[in-house]
């Protein structure tokens, strides 16, 4: 069952229109919330007049910052630090507004149309202050005491000064990655009710990290965690953005408590584009020291991460990951990086698929191309000379990320390079591209090698139960964001128990169903919950066989398990089904011996991440008249250690790549000179459609299983996205015959058109 591309368990209701997304949930007597948002990028609130809104029939309440001043700001979930604490976001603006879209007031009304009517009538006056719109420029004021640099950190390994002192070549460069983000097709939303009979707050529409958000909400609202229940419904895409705890979530929960009625909030798209986490937006300056053969001896990087107006739940996660993963698959023995998390008057930022790696892969691979060009070495060859060898695994980078040392657990990087070069017939391809360029075509090749990280710990649990009908339920505290979590868990369970997938249910994201849980982020679900489910399935199998041995009066060694039953090997008539075993294990049964039920629960803990790796190679033609870049071929090789369901892994890679192309070519949260966001609809924020996507060739490999878990799996969620920016840039350089031409993303058709014109002008 493991390794088979079976169709998904999840799909039937989703195909029939029977899904249950948060907007599909209604509670009796509910109010609808609408947020009034700041129209100014930066300023002091001088007045908020809600009288006209309150006069609208059906409007039940209007809250402003003063009404919720007793609620603390939203805390960090990851990579927090004392210095960043003052920069956390309040759930409604307190006196000062810091970005267009910041929640300023909340209107509660009988239906969503009326809530919008009310919100339109809330008058907010702001005395505007100059906005900070370039985080890499001069610092501004966050408030009367603090400037806009929230956090600075340095990581280093080796002796960087010595490496530069003896270097044959030193290169300097500056690279920028623009501001874009996940933009799931489902906007955010929440429905909450305070059940007075049980004094329990129920919060529906949770996603990604329900258990952590349960604890955070309980703390912010002064409730015991056991009286706060979060429930995940269907989730319309996550990508790092969805499911973090946002101001609106806390307002919904608080309103359910204070107004005594269920409260529902469904975000619209315009809100989403200015209110949900943005991401990327980094400027890197680097110096590279190499020997005569292009081997990088030293790398020194300083970068600014534009965090937007507040530091949200992710703390310094993105900057930390950019710093830690920047050296990628290369040895680079001497490395020093300084990251600066700076605020601006833009929407606050958080993680987005391959956070910190999309950026740092762009930077590193641009640098690798620059070394190749400077020294006149072939681009594949210069990479080969720098790759960490398989005999060097496990490879200690000498720096930390997310509280754990970066230790690459396994990898055969050179094997992957060879496979991809063979697949595209590299020598012949580069020759033919050179011929086509000589004939006037703008066509080029890009390569992007990278290491990903996945399987972030420290724990995941799984409980397997069998009911009297033989139906198996896998319960975890982890989460699904639409990636196929249920199918993958069921496959792992089925592989051990031998029951059919259609006999297995998977429960996730319900905080009253499991004692602990983490969630769906950092490509961790298959690695962490998958391992726990594997272990729990093994334990359940053992328990079933022991009970069956007594029921069949046979030796456990003679029993086999298949098709939902345990039988005596060689005499299939002597058998009991899993349902019969479960029924026989009732609490009063002598068979149970104080441990009732056919049930097993296991917890997998780890302090290390594991490290999948990949290589993208793309051939693109540039149309000088339209600025369109069309990939003729795009190959993604990715090693996930072991693929539980290759079809789903490939789906992750292809979908991830579409997002990678989006950020490289089209998607851009730009702002005008007074901080007004310019991309607030899908007519301005341009995500790729079927017309822009090339047909991808996926080379899935299992060369380097992870030694850190019994399945050998590594996460599959982010490798498709990681290197797209790097490859787009390299292919454009090559097509133009101008190494180093692209130093920033996105390279929009408009920019490409201008580059082609300037090429034509200068010949």
């Amino acid at each position: 069952m493991i390794g088979e591309s079976v169709p998904r368990l999840e799909d039937r209701p989703l195909l029939r229109g029977e899904g249950r997304f948060v907007a599909d949930i209604d509670l009796p007597h509910q109010l609808h919330m609408r947020i009034v948002r700041s129209h100014a990028a930066h300023g002091t609130i001088t007045s908020i007049d809600a009288a006209e809104a309150l006069a609208v029939p059906g409007v039940a309440a209007v809250w402003t910052g003063a009404d919720v001043a007793d609620v603390p700001p939203i805390d960090f979930r990851q990579v927090g630090a004392d210095q960043m604490v003052p920069y956390r976001q309040p759930i409604l603006a307190q006196r000062r507004v810091r970005y267009v879209g910041e929640p300023v007031a909340a209107v509660f009304a009988a239906d969503p149309y009326t809530a919008e009517d009310g919100a339109e009538r809330v008058v907010v006056e702001v005395a505007e202050l100059p906005p900070v719109l370039d985080a890499a420029g001069p610092l501004g004021d966050f408030d009367e005491r603090l400037d806009t640099e929230a956090y600075v950190f340095t990581e280093a390994t080796g002796d960087v000064e010595e490496a530069f002192a003896r270097a044959e070549h030193i290169l300097e460069a500056e690279f920028r990655v623009g501001r874009h983000t996940g933009v799931p097709l489902e906007c955010r939303g929440a429905v909450a009710a305070h059940h007075r009979d049980t004094q329990t707050l129920e919060f529906l529409g949770a996603a990604k990290v329900p258990f952590q958000n349960r604890d955070a909400l309980a703390q912010m609202l002064g409730l015991p965690p056991s009286r706060v229940v979060l429930r995940e419904a269907h989730v319309g895409g996550g990508f790092g953005v969805r499911g973090e705890l946002y101001p609106e979530d806390v307002l919904v929960a608080l309103a359910a408590l204070r107004l005594g009625r269920p409260v529902k909030w469904i975000e619209d798209r315009q809100e989403h584009l200015v209110a949900a986490n943005h991401s990327r937006d980094q400027l890197h300056r680097l110096r590279v020291a190499t020997d005569a053969r292009g081997v990088i001896e030293g790398l020194e990087v300083e970068f600014v991460s534009d965090q937007g107006a507040y530091v949200r739940t992710h703390g310094a996660t993105v900057a930390t990951l950019a710093a830690a993963m920047l050296p990628g698959p290369y040895r680079i023995p001497n490395y020093r990086v300084t990251g600066r998390v700076r605020l601006s008057n833009k929407t606050p930022a958080g993680t987005y698929r391959a956070p910190g790696r999309y950026e740092s892969t762009f930077v590193r691979e641009r640098a690798m191309d620059a070394v190749a060009a400077e020294l006149g070495i072939d681009r594949a060859e210069v990479r080969r000379r720098n790759l960490i060898g398989s005999d060097e695994m496990p490879f200690e980078r000498g720096i930390d990320a997310l509280g754990t040392p970066v230790v690459y657990d396994s990898g055969r990087y050179e094997t992957m390079l060879d496979r991809v070069l063979d697949h595209i017939d590299y020598s012949a391809l580069t020759e033919s591209l050179a011929e086509r360029r000589a004939a006037g075509e703008l066509v080029g090749l890009g390569l992007g090698f990278f290491v990903e990280k996945s399987g972030l710990g420290p724990f995941a649990g799984s409980r397997i139960t069998v009911d009297g009908s033989g139906r198996v339920t896998v319960t975890t505290g982890e989460a699904s964001v639409g990636q196929g979590f249920e199918t993958v868990m069921a496959q792992i369970c089925s592989d051990v128990l031998g029951v059919g997938l259609d006999s297995i249910s998977v429960v996730h994201g319900q905080t009253d169903q499991m004692s602990y849980g983490m969630g769906a982020f950092a490509s961790r679900a298959t690695v962490m919950a998958g391992t726990a489910t594997h272990d729990a399935s093994e334990a359940l199998r053992q328990r079933a066989i022991e009970a069956a041995a007594e029921m069949l009066e046979a030796s456990a060694d003679d029993l086999v398990m298949a098709d939902g039953a345990v039988s005596v090997a060689g005499s299939p008539a002597q058998a009991v089904t899993l349902g019969e075993i479960a029924s026989a294990l009732g609490p009063a049964s002598p068979l149970a011996r104080g441990r009732p039920g056919l049930v097993a629960e296991e917890w997998y803990t780890t302090s290390h991440m594991n490290y999948p790796y990949g290589l993208h190679a793309g051939v693109a033609a540039l149309d000088p008249d339209t600025g369109r870049l069309a990939f003729e071929r795009y190959v993604i090789a990715y090693d996930v250690g072991r693929a539980i369901n290759p079809m789903l892994v490939e789906g992750q890679i292809v979908g991830g790549a579409a997002q990678g192309f989006g950020g490289a070519l089209f998607e851009d949260f730009s702002y005008d000179e007074i901080g007004q966001p310019q991309a607030t609809t899908f007519m301005d924020y341009l995500m790729p459609t079927a017309a822009e996507m090339p047909d991808l060739e996926i080379l899935l490999s299992e060369d380097a299983p992870s030694p850190l878990n019994p399945l050998g799996v590594k996460g599959a969620g982010e490798g498709g996205t990681n290197a797209c920016g790097a490859v787009v840039a390299a292919a454009i350089d090559d097509a133009l015959g101008r190494p180093g031409a692209v130093t920033s993303l996105p390279v929009t058709p408009e920019r490409l058109h201008a580059m082609c014109r300037s090429l034509a002008a200068t010949g």
């Binding site: 195909l15 029939r16 229109g17 029977e18 149309y113 097709l185 906007c187 899908f682 459609t689 017309a691």
Partner: protein, 159 residues
């Protein structure tokens, strides 16, 4: 605001549905809230993403850009009307077999868009089909498996 409600009867998936809605209420909201047909999803509410695509007299429309009061006397088809009881429509079956969906949020819109084009033009070529499917947005699949699914359904549905 809070204008008088208008009584009208919609025909959805062949069944009459009597509703009373404000004139400003969109077809999408009416299907979801007044008819209980929540399979039609709202992804942008400004007519770009296509998640809310339904068929009106067999033509695909953005139900976020139509008012319910414009819809009396027309035949509306939604994702809930595709399957025949337990039996999936060939386009649903193809999406299932070819992993044409991940989170499933955009899926009803793509299913309705594909249904309309394959019914109207069973022999549509690959290039044109890609162009039609570029009407809607998906953020999970990268479209490759959606295109594969619709190709498979085309081959299956061809008379």
């Amino acid at each position: 605001m809070n204008a008088e409600r208008v009584e009208l009867t919609l025909t959805v998936n062949g069944e009459p549905r009597a509703v009373a809605v404000e004139p400003r209420k969109t077809l999408a909201d009416t299907l979801r809230e007044d008819c209980g047909l929540t399979g039609t999803h709202l992804g942008c509410e400004h007519g770009v993403c296509g998640a809310c695509t339904v068929l009106v007299d067999d033509e695909p429309v953005r139900s976020c850009l139509m008012f319910a009061v414009q819809c009396s006397g027309v035949e509306i088809r939604t994702v809930e009307g595709l399957a025949d009881g337990d039996r999936l429509h060939p386009i649903q079956q193809a999406f299932w077999e070819h992993h044409g969906l991940q989170c499933g949020f955009c899926t009803p819109g793509f299913l309705m868009l594909a249904t309309s084009v394959l019914e109207a033009r069973p022999d549509i070529g690959d290039e044109e089909l890609r162009e039609v499917l570029a009407s809607n947005l998906c953020r999970c699949t990268g479209y490759q498996n959606i295109i594969t699914s619709v190709h498979a359904a085309r081959d299956q549905m061809r008379p």
